[in-house]
């Protein structure tokens, strides 16, 4: 790969600009759908772009007692982590630009990076709201991370590969949602937890802790965290729809499947009341983890006895 092509990959497509635009577009769909379900008008299509332009142009206020390097670096690391993860997934149905054996695990870790950054950011700003928010964000991370990973492990096991591209190809011949429904549900809800969408928005519950870990962030820093989250949304949707909804073979199937998934997520956001943090943890470890583990055991047994 020559240098020019690398730059193109990183800055324009599939990472960089395209990813950001897609993220904002998906964010708009989510906001609009939730608003319509709640009997509101909802934002116009360019609202996320307008928010981005406005916030990026604004001054970033730095609290007096923070570590300034960390304060500026964390949003960048968050956005970089999410964008790097995008290199390994079949974005828009095309073959991932980068791929190696075991990239599934790397992608999952990269997707956790934004949450870790949010946690660190909350700890760094040492505002009381941020501290509680950071504690909650990290507590929640420990709750959903394992079940989410196990839920994506199911398709990997049946495909016999740890490479996202190969699993995607395998999944195109069969809809794994039919054979592994539990895994699909756990993966979908896990994604909502990862993105801190309602009802898993305890880390940023505004009625208790204002804006949670990001309370002290403003302007550019805040927007970068938000963009990181939008990218995470796109990557997460791509992963789950590639694994469970019959794979992604082209831009058409990508749009159709990921938007369908987003629709499902919006419905759940509308229907449910926020969980308290203890309820979130209880839900994941009492039901999510155990159910998905049971499914993994079944898959392993099935693979072992029926080669």
């Amino acid at each position: 790969m020559n240098t020019l092509a690398s730059f193109f990959t990183i800055l324009i497509y599939p990472a960089g600009l395209t990813l950001i635009l897609f993220g904002m577009f998906y964010e708009w769909i989510d906001r609009k759908l939730v608003a319509r379900f709640q009997n509101r008008a909802g934002p116009r299509w360019f609202q996320p772009f307008a928010d981005a332009v406005k916030l990026l142009a604004k001054e970033q206020i730095q609290p007096g007692i923070v570590n300034p390097y960390l304060f500026f670096a964390l949003p960048i690391v968050a956005i970089a982590g999410a964008s790097t993860a995008a290199l390994y997934v079949p974005l828009m149905g095309f073959t991932p630009p980068s791929s190696f054996s075991g990239d599934l695990i790397v992608t999952l870790y990269l997707l956790s990076l934004p949450t870790m950054c949010v946690g660190l950011a909350g700890w760094n700003t040492s505002s009381r709201f941020s501290l509680i928010g950071a504690t909650r964000a990290l507590t929640q991370l420990f709750a959903y991370e394992a079940p989410f990973m196990l839920a994506l492990l199911g398709p990997a096991l049946v495909a016999g590969s740890w490479q996202i591209g190969e699993i995607n190809e395998y999944a195109q011949t069969r809809w794994l949602i039919l054979s592994q429904p539990i895994g699909f549900i756990v993966a979908l809800i896990g994604l909502m937890g990862k993105l801190e969408l309602p009802p898993f928005d305890a880390p940023e519950a505004e009625t208790e802790i204002v804006a949670g870990a990001l309370t002290e962030y403003s302007g550019r820093g805040l927007m970068m965290f938000k963009i990181g989250k939008s990218i995470e949304l796109v990557v997460g949707l791509t992963l789950v729809s590639a694994f469970y909804l019959g794979g992604l073979s082209g831009i058409g199937s990508f749009l159709l499947k990921s938007v369908a998934l987003l629709f499902l997520m919006s419905v759940m956001q509308t229907l449910f009341t926020r969980f308290r943090i203890d309820q979130t943890v209880g839900l994941w470890w009492r039901f999510g983890a155990i159910l998905v583990l049971a499914q993994i055991v079944v898959i392993i047994l099935w693979k072992g006895y029926m080669p």
Partner: protein, 556 residues
């Protein structure tokens, strides 16, 4: 038992301390006693389970008389017994009764901060109502107070949250308010948390002080109506109604039946608007925004009805002294019925949601449970008390105005948790819908107003009405002039605070906004007391100056 027997029972209990018995009104007995006997008398009333402490009114009887008076109003059904304690202005020491009746702490703070009563054992190091930079030993409700005395003391201005309160070991203080997304009105709470568990709670009120009680003393009886309507933006009608009924009682004027019916009708509509607003806020605090959006959408229906009837959406201004301003014609009655029919179906739906939605119940069932005994001890009022199984509703206990002719039924639950409070409030709305229909079907004919005298005969009266949040008490005193001598307002929110502060400890931080919302606090109601200066400012601004400042600030 009729009123007379209830009052005699109280008189018998209070016999040992009784110095003089007064009968200011048919349903009231005033027992004059020495300040030293107050504690013993309260214990006796409390142990005999005679009524509950409704309010403490403080009065300065003037420089000439050299005396101040504190009235401890105890209510039992329609009967009111006031313990009158007179103390010389130079030595205003009175004992505290907060050890027997916890809600008294708020009333005693009010006495101490606004009138300078020296309540034994009261912590005076910080303030609950008046600003922190208010000068010491200046009491705004005293007869000899003048605004010049209220020059702010700069060094008295204390930081709301000391920096060292931030991190001490594992516990730290979470400030909620005065500006916070969970609060729609300004109030300040400090919750000490250990991780997620609340270990301590403290509150500060007074951010929306407007000095209405003081202002009332310099306005005429008629002007005051508009002032008291503005005590609260949600239950403005009940405030105006309580004031009007009190003044009418003093003037011995009876409003015509049609006026009473319209008053109850507007009060019913106001209750629907208030409780639907509350439902939305509670749902939002729990993180269930869908219910919030839907209930507020439906609330628009009742807002439109109110606007149609009275011409206003917020301060309805339906009352005048001696009657009401607005009439209801046949066409309007039809529209109200239509609206109420629609609202009834929606309220039934919400009742189903709050009792069956598993996720919402996760956040309401078994949370903040208050037993009937605790509710009695905390002195709770309104729906919060009724959810704990306390039968406390002025509309039923002591029917006033049109509630005699169009009675409402009592709604209670026994669980006392947030779910029970949701149920009680919503079911009350169904009751209100029935009452509104009954009124519209049997509206009495006749005039809307009767003539009121400009000067109200000397006397004292207590007017109690059931606001959406509970019993609202107005104590009105006239010296026979064009202005009232003293108007004391005790709003229901003030009595319910104890429940939040007591119940928050030991709970998760995430439950705290729900607990605050659970009693439906109304900060503006609490904060009507006294303030001449801006809470944290250091200068007194006139209206023109303030306006100029605003224009300059925003043109920058």
């Amino acid at each position: 038992m009729n009123i007379e027997q209830i009052l005699q029972a109280a008189e018998k209990i209070l016999e040992p301390w009784n110095k003089e018995t007064l009968r200011p009104e048919a349903n009231r007995v005033d027992i004059v006693m020495q300040a030293d006997d107050l504690h013993a008398a309260t214990v006796a009333l409390h142990e005999a389970h005679w009524g509950y402490l409704s309010a403490i009114t403080g009065m300065d009887l003037g420089v000439d008389s050299g005396q101040m008076e504190a009235l401890y109003h105890f209510c039992s059904g329609p009967a009111i017994v006031s313990l009158r304690v007179r103390v010389p202005r130079e030595n205003t020491s009175i004992p505290s009764i907060a050890d027997i009746l916890p809600p008294a702490i708020f009333f005693e703070r009010e006495l101490s901060e606004t009138l300078g009563f020296k309540v034994a054992g009261l912590d005076e190091s910080d303030r609950l109502f008046i600003p922190d930079d208010w000068p010491p030993d200046v009491y705004p409700l005293r007869a000899d107070f003048s605004p010049e005395q209220a020059t702010p003391v700069a060094e008295k201005h204390v930081e709301e949250i000391p920096e060292q309160g931030m991190l001490t070991g594992n516990t730290f203080v979470i400030p909620i308010g005065p500006q916070h997304p969970a609060l729609k009105e300004p109030g300040h709470f400090q919750f000490t948390v250990d991780g997620e568990i609340v270990t301590g709670a403290k509150m500060r009120l007074g951010y929306a002080h407007r000095g209405i009680e003081k202002a009332a003393e310099s306005r005429s009886w008629f002007q005051n109506l508009y002032l008291f309507e503005r005590v609260c933006g949600i239950c403005s009608h009940t405030h105006a109604m309580a004031y009007c009924m009190g003044v009418e009682k003093l003037a011995q004027v009876e409003a015509p039946p049609r006026a009473h019916a319209i008053r109850e009708l507007v009060a019913g509509l106001e209750r629907i608007h208030s409780h639907l607003l509350w439902l939305g806020v509670a749902a939002h605090e729990a993180g269930f925004d869908t219910l919030f959006m839907y209930s507020w959408r439906d609330r628009e229906t009742v807002m439109n009805l109110l606007e149609q009837v009275t011409g206003n959406r917020v301060n309805y201004s339906a009352n005048v002294l001696g009657g009401v301003k607005c009439d209801i014609g046949a066409e309007q009655a039809e529209k109200i019925k239509e609206g109420v029919d629609y609202l009834e179906t929606r309220i039934r739906h919400y009742l189903e949601v709050v009792t069956t939605d598993a996720m919402f119940l996760n956040r309401t069932r078994g949370i903040g449970s208050i037993t009937a005994a605790e509710a009695e001890r905390f002195g709770l009022l309104g729906p919060t008390a009724r959810a704990s199984g306390l039968m406390r509703d002025v509309r039923i206990e002591a029917p006033y105005g049109a509630y005699v002719r169009y009675p409402v039924s009592l709604v209670t639950r026994t669980n006392g948790d947030l779910e029970a409070r949701c149920e009680v409030r919503l079911e009350e709305l169904l009751v209100s819908c029935f009452a509104i229909r009954a009124i519209l079907d049997n509206m009495p004919d006749g005039p809307l107003t009767v003539r009121m005298p400009r000067k109200i005969p000397a006397g004292e009266t207590i007017s109690r009405v059931e606001a959406p949040r509970g019993e609202l008490l107005y104590f009105i005193k006239s010296n026979g002039g064009e202005n009232p001598a003293r108007v004391h307002v005790r709003t229901p929110s003030l009595c319910n605070w104890v429940s939040v502060l007591e119940k928050a400890v030991g709970r998760q931080l995430a439950d705290v906004p729900m607990l605050i919302a659970g009693m439906d606090p109304c900060f503006s109601c609490n904060d009507r007391l006294v303030s001449v200066v801006r809470p944290h400012g250091s200068e007194i601004l006139s209206w023109t100056q303030l306006r100029k400042l605003g224009i300059e600030y925003y043109s920058r």
